[in-house]
C-alpha cells in the first residue's frame, strides 16, 4: 500500500524550471532513498511535500487523502515530519521539553505537568532503545543525539512518514549504526522514511527502494536489490554533456605550494604539491574536510600537525601571515564571508590590500581608482561605478569584485572555495574562463567545489577527499563525473565490498 503518491509535480523559480512533472511515491513501511546531485531538485520536491513551498502543478496524496495545496500545518497533522539537516531543536530547553514542544501537557492552571512529560519521554526512549536523559539540556547533547531526539519528537507527534535530509553527515560510524538500528525497528512497526543521502554505501545498507532525480526530472525509480552503486551513480550524473571546452594544457612552473602531512580536526595526513600556473581542484562532500583543508591553506583554521610551505618557506600563524606569502582565498558563502555590505565596490575591492600596505595609512584615491578601472576591465565587472554599493551588484559580479580583492594584493596563489556558488550560468562560464586566464598568466589556483563539470572544465588535477582523507588524485584526462562521484561518495569501496 502506498502511503505517499506525488504525481506530475512541477516547480519554477523566476521562470527557471527546477522540477518537471516528477512522480514520486513511497510504500508504507519502507525506507525510500531520494538521490540526485546538488541542484537535481530533491530539496524542492521535499519542500513541496512538507508544505514549505507551494508547487506549480501536480497532485499530492498522503494516506489516500488528496492535498491540493499542502501547508506546513496540514502536512504535520497528516503525519509528515521533516528532519532537517540543520537540526531544529531548541538548545536551551530540556530533552523532554523539546519532545513536547508546542503541545505541552498542562494542568487546569496552565502550568506544565513536568513529571508526566518526563515519564512519557522516558517510556518513548526505552521503546526505541535511545539512551538520553530526558531532563538534560539539549545544548549538552551530541549531534547524533540531537538527530535521534528529532526523530523521537516526530514519532511522538504521530508522524508516519519521516523525511531524513542527510541524517548521517555529522555522525560517526557507530552512531550511524545505532541510527540505522532504530530506523529498521521503526520500519518494522510500520513507519515510512524518505532518506536523502549523498553516501551511496549507506543507501545500500539501509534503504529498500530508490528514486533518482536529475536536473529536475525523474530518471529512475525502483528497488535497490536490482540496482548497483555503478548504475545509480550513472543515473545521477547522466549522459556526459560536453559544452564549450575552455581547458587548455599549459606549461607548468616550479612547485610553489606544498602540504606535508597536514592534519587538523577535519582532515588527516594530507600531502600535496602544487606547481606554479597549475589549477588543482579539491572535491568532497560535506564532512569530507575539503573546505577545511582549503581554509587551513589560508590560515583561517588551525592545523595540528604537518607543515604548509609557500614559495619554499613555511607558512603559519595568522591569515595576515599567509597573505604575506602571496596567498589569497575567495571564501565559500559569499554573503557571509566576503561581502562587507555597508561599503562601496571600491572599498570592498581594497580591504585586503589595505591590510598588506597598512604601513602607509594615507589612501591615494587616484591610484586606487586607476587600479580599479584596470581590474574592472580585466575581469569584466559590471557596476554603476566604484562608489556603488556592493550589494547593488549581481552575485556573479560581486564574486568578480572579491576575486579582484586578491588580484589587487598581487597574490599569486589563489584559493577559490566554491567560486560559482549562487552565480548564474553565464557568469559561471565567465569565471571558468577567468580562472584559466589567470593560470596561463602564471597564477596558481586551487579550487574547492562539489560541481564535477566545473572540475572537468578547468582543473589539471583533481584531489578527492572522503572522510578527512585523500582517496584519489586524478589527472585532467582521468576526471569524469562518474568516477569522481563514485570516489567522493565511497561507492567504489561499497561495490568492492559487496
Amino acid at each position: 500500500m502506498r502511503i505517499l503518491e506525488m504525481t506530475g509535480i512541477s516547480k519554477s523559480y523566476d521562470g527557471n524550471r527546477v522540477l518537471n512533472e516528477v512522480d514520486f511515491s513511497v510504500e508504507k513501511g519502507e525506507i525510500h532513498a531520494l538521490l540526485g546531485e546538488n541542484g537535481a531538485g530533491k530539496s524542492t520536491l521535499l519542500n513541496i511535500l512538507a508544505g514549505v513551498v507551494p508547487g506549480d502543478g501536480g497532485t499530492v496524496h498522503f494516506d489516500g487523502v488528496p492535498y491540493p495545496r499542502p501547508s506546513i500545518g496540514e502536512m504535520e497533522k497528516a503525519g509528515v515530519a521533516f528532519v532537517h539537516q540543520e537540526l531544529n531543536v531548541v538548545n536551551d530547553l530540556t530533552v523532554s521539553e523539546n519532545i513536547f514542544f508546542n503541545h505541552e501537557l498542562t494542568n487546569s492552571f496552565g502550568l506544565l505537568r513536568r513529571k508526566e512529560m518526563i515519564a512519557e519521554t522516558r517510556a518513548l526512549f526505552q521503546r526505541l532503545g535511545v539512551d538520553i536523559d530526558p531532563t538534560r539540556k539539549v545544548r549538552e547533547l551530541k549531534t547524533s543525539q540531537k538527530q535521534l531526539l528529532e526523530i523521537c519528537r516526530a514519532l511522538h507527534a504521530r508522524a508516519t512518514l519521516m523525511i531524513l535530509d542527510e541524517p548521517t553527515t555529522a555522525l560517526g560510524n557507530d552512531e550511524i549504526e545505532h541510527l540505522f538500528t532504530i530506523l529498521r525497528q521503526l520500519k518494522s512497526e510500520g513507519s515510512s522514511f524518505i532518506f536523502v543521502s549523498h553516501k551511496i554505501p549507506e543507501v545500500f545498507q539501509i534503504a529498500d527502494s530508490y528514486t533518482v532525480l536529475r536536473n529536475g526530472e525523474l530518471v529512475r525509480s525502483g528497488i535497490l536489490a536490482e540496482a548497483t552503486p555503478f548504475s545509480i551513480t550513472s543515473d545521477m550524473v547522466g549522459e556526459q554533456y560536453a559544452d564549450e571546452d575552455v581547458y587548455r594544457a599549459r606549461e607548468l612552473g616550479p612547485v610553489v605550494l606544498e602540504l606535508d602531512r597536514v592534519t587538523s580536526t577535519a582532515f588527516r595526513d594530507v600531502s600535496l604539491t602544487v606547481r606554479q600556473g597549475e589549477i588543482v581542484a579539491l572535491t568532497g562532500l560535506a564532512g569530507s574536510g575539503a573546505s577545511e583543508l582549503m581554509q587551513a591553506m589560508f590560515g583561517a583554521v588551525p592545523i595540528h600537525g604537518g607543515e604548509i610551505r609557500a614559495h619554499g618557506s613555511r607558512a603559519s600563524g595568522s591569515i595576515h601571515a599567509f597573505m604575506r606569502r602571496g596567498i589569497g582565498m575567495l571564501p565559500t558563502n559569499r554573503k557571509e564571508n566576503s561581502v562587507v555590505p555597508d561599503r562601496t565596490v571600491l572599498e570592498n575591492q581594497y580591504i585586503a590590500e589595505h591590510n598588506l600596505s597598512a604601513g602607509h595609512q594615507w589612501i591615494h584615491t587616484k591610484v586606487e581608482l586607476e587600479k580599479y578601472e584596470k581590474l574592472k576591465d580585466a575581469l569584466n565587472i559590471r557596476t554603476q561605478g566604484p562608489d556603488a554599493a556592493i550589494t547593488s551588484l549581481s552575485g556573479g559580479n560581486q564574486q568578480k569584485v572579491f576575486l579582484a580583492r586578491w588580484l589587487n594584493t598581487d597574490a599569486d596563489i589563489l584559493l577559490l572555495d566554491n567560486p560559482t556558488q549562487g552565480v548564474d550560468v553565464g557568469a559561471k562560464e565567465e569565471i571558468y574562463a577567468l580562472i584559466l586566464e589567470l593560470a596561463t598568466s602564471g597564477k596558481t589556483v586551487v579550487i574547492n567545489t562539489l560541481e564535477i563539470p566545473e572540475i572537468q572544465k578547468v582543473s589539471d588535477r583533481c584531489v578527492v577527499l572522503y572522510d578527512g582523507e585523500v582517496v584519489a588524485v586524478l589527472d585532467h584526462d582521468q576526471i569524469n563525473e562518474h568516477d569522481v562521484m563514485g570516489l567522493s561518495t565511497n561507492a567504489v569501496n561499497a561495490a568492492r565490498g559487496a
Binding site: 557571509e336 562587507v340 561599503r343 580591504i351 591590510n355
Partner: protein
C-alpha cells in the same frame, strides 16, 4: 521639461537628505531655537551660536562622542566614558597640583584616558567579554575609584574638600590652563571663538580624515559591517576592536582636560553623570547606525550641536524648568530616529503606488528616460 528641472533641484537635496540627514536635524532644531529667542523678544546673534559651540554638551560630551562613534561603528558600545571622564579629570587635577606644569598636566590627562580605554579594549577584544558588560563594570569601577580617591588623598593635593578635586589657583600655569582649555577665546574679526570649540572642531576634523582617508578608518567600518569578511581579508579584528576603545580613551583624556579647566574643579559624585548616554544620543542624532558599519564622523559634530541646542531651547523657555530638559531631549531623539526609520518605509509604501504607472510609461518610451 518641467520634471527635468525639478529633478535637477531635488536630486542633490534628496541625496543630501539620505546621506547627511543630521544636517537637516540640526537646521530644524536651530530654527526652533531662533523662533523661541525671537518669541522672547530678543534677537538671535552670533553669540548664541558661539555659546552652543562652547557649551559643556558640545565640547566635553561632543569630544567623547567622537570616540563613541568609532566604537559604535565597529558594532560595540562604551558605557564607561562618563565615569572615565571624572577619574581622568581627577588625575589631571592632582598632577597639576603636584607639578604646576602645563605639559605634564596635559600628558597626564591623555595618558590616564588611554590607560582606561585600553582596559576596556583588552577585556572586550582579547578576553571576549561583551562590550556592554565590560564597560558597565568599568563604569562602576572608574567612578568609585574617583570617589574613593578624593576622600583618601590629602586636601593639599586634591586641592579642596573631601568631595572635590580643585586646581590650585594663583600660578601662571593655572591661568594659562584655565584660559587655554577653559574660558578663553580667540578673537577674529569681531567674533569670539572659544579655544575649547577650536579644540573640539580640530578633533572632529582629525577623525573625519582618519575615518574617511586612512586605511585604518576603512577597516574600522569593515569590522562593524561584517567582521567575518574582514577577518578573511586579513584584518586583525581583535586589534581593531581594542584600538577604538583606546582612541575613545584618548578623547576622554582631552575631554577631561576641558572639564577640569573649564570649571577649575571636578566633583566625582555628580560630574559627568549620564555623559555616556548623552554621547550615544549625539552619535545617533549624527546619523550613525547603532548596528555598526554605517555613518559619517562629521555627523558627530552636528549631533553634538543638535543635542546642545535642544538644551538652550528649553532653558530659553521660562515656563519650563530645567528638570524637564531630559524629557525633551529624549523625545527629540526618538522623533528623529522615528523619522529616519519610518521615512523610507512610508516612501516605499506610498512611493511604489505612484511609481508603478510611471515605470510602465518609461518602458513604452525609453528615450524619455535617458539624458
Amino acid at each position: 521639461m518641467e520634471e527635468k528641472t525639478r529633478n535637477k533641484f531635488w536630486r542633490p537635496v534628496q541625496s543630501l537628505w539620505r546621506e547627511h540627514s543630521y544636517i537637516f536635524v540640526f537646521v530644524v532644531i536651530l530654527i526652533v531655537y531662533v523662533i523661541t529667542i525671537e518669541a522672547n523678544g530678543k534677537t538671535f546673534t552670533s553669540g548664541h551660536l558661539s555659546s552652543i559651540l562652547s557649551s559643556q554638551n558640545t565640547v566635553v560630551v561632543g569630544t567623547m562622542a567622537i570616540g563613541m562613534a568609532l566604537v559604535i561603528i565597529t558594532g560595540q558600545i562604551d558605557l564607561s566614558i562618563g565615569s572615565a571622564l571624572v577619574l581622568c579629570s581627577g588625575v589631571t587635577v592632582v598632577v597639576f597640583n603636584l607639578t604646576d606644569n602645563i605639559l605634564l598636566t596635559v600628558l597626564a590627562a591623555l595618558a590616564s584616558g588611554l590607560v582606561l580605554g585600553a582596559v576596556n579594549g583588552v577585556l572586550v577584544a582579547y578576553a571576549k567579554i561583551p562590550p556592554f558588560i565590560v564597560t558597565l563594570g568599568t563604569m562602576l569601577i572608574y567612578r568609585s575609584l574617583a570617589l574613593w580617591a578624593v576622600r583618601e588623598i590629602p586636601s593639599s593635593v586634591s586641592g579642596s574638600s573631601s568631595s572635590q578635586f580643585a586646581m590650585e589657583s594663583g600660578t601662571r600655569s593655572y591661568e594659562w590652563l584655565r584660559m587655554g582649555f577653559g574660558t578663553g577665546s580667540l578673537r577674529i574679526a569681531g567674533f569670539a571663538i572659544p579655544y575649547v570649540s577650536i579644540l573640539f572642531l580640530l578633533c572632529v576634523a582629525l577623525f573625519v580624515v582618519i575615518a574617511g582617508n586612512t586605511k585604518y578608518g576603512k577597516v574600522v567600518y569593515a569590522v562593524g559591517s561584517n567582521d567575518k569578511a574582514a577577518r578573511l581579508a586579513g584584518v586583525n579584528v581583535q586589534r581593531i576592536q581594542a584600538s577604538v576603545f583606546m582612541m575613545t580613551g584618548l578623547l576622554v583624556g582631552v575631554a577631561s582636560l576641558i572639564q577640569a579647566c573649564k570649571v577649575g574643579n571636578i566633583t566625582p559624585a555628580s560630574s559627568g553623570r549620564s555623559y555616556e548616554m548623552y554621547a550615544i544620543a549625539a552619535v545617533v542624532l549624527g546619523g550613525i547606525a547603532m548596528a555598526g558599519g554605517r555613518g559619517n564622523m562629521a555627523g558627530v559634530l552636528f549631533g553634538a550641536l543638535s543635542y546642545s541646542a535642544i538644551d538652550f531651547i528649553i532653558v530659553s523657555i521660562p515656563a519650563l524648568s530645567a528638570d524637564i530638559q531630559d524629557t525633551f531631549q529624549g523625545l527629540v531623539l526618538i522623533l528623529v530616529i522615528l523619522v529616519q526609520t519610518a521615512g523610507p518605509e512610508l516612501r516605499e509604501r506610498f512611493g511604489s503606488r505612484r511609481r508603478r504607472p510611471r515605470a510602465d510609461a518609461g518602458s513604452a518610451a525609453p528615450a524619455s528616460t535617458s539624458g
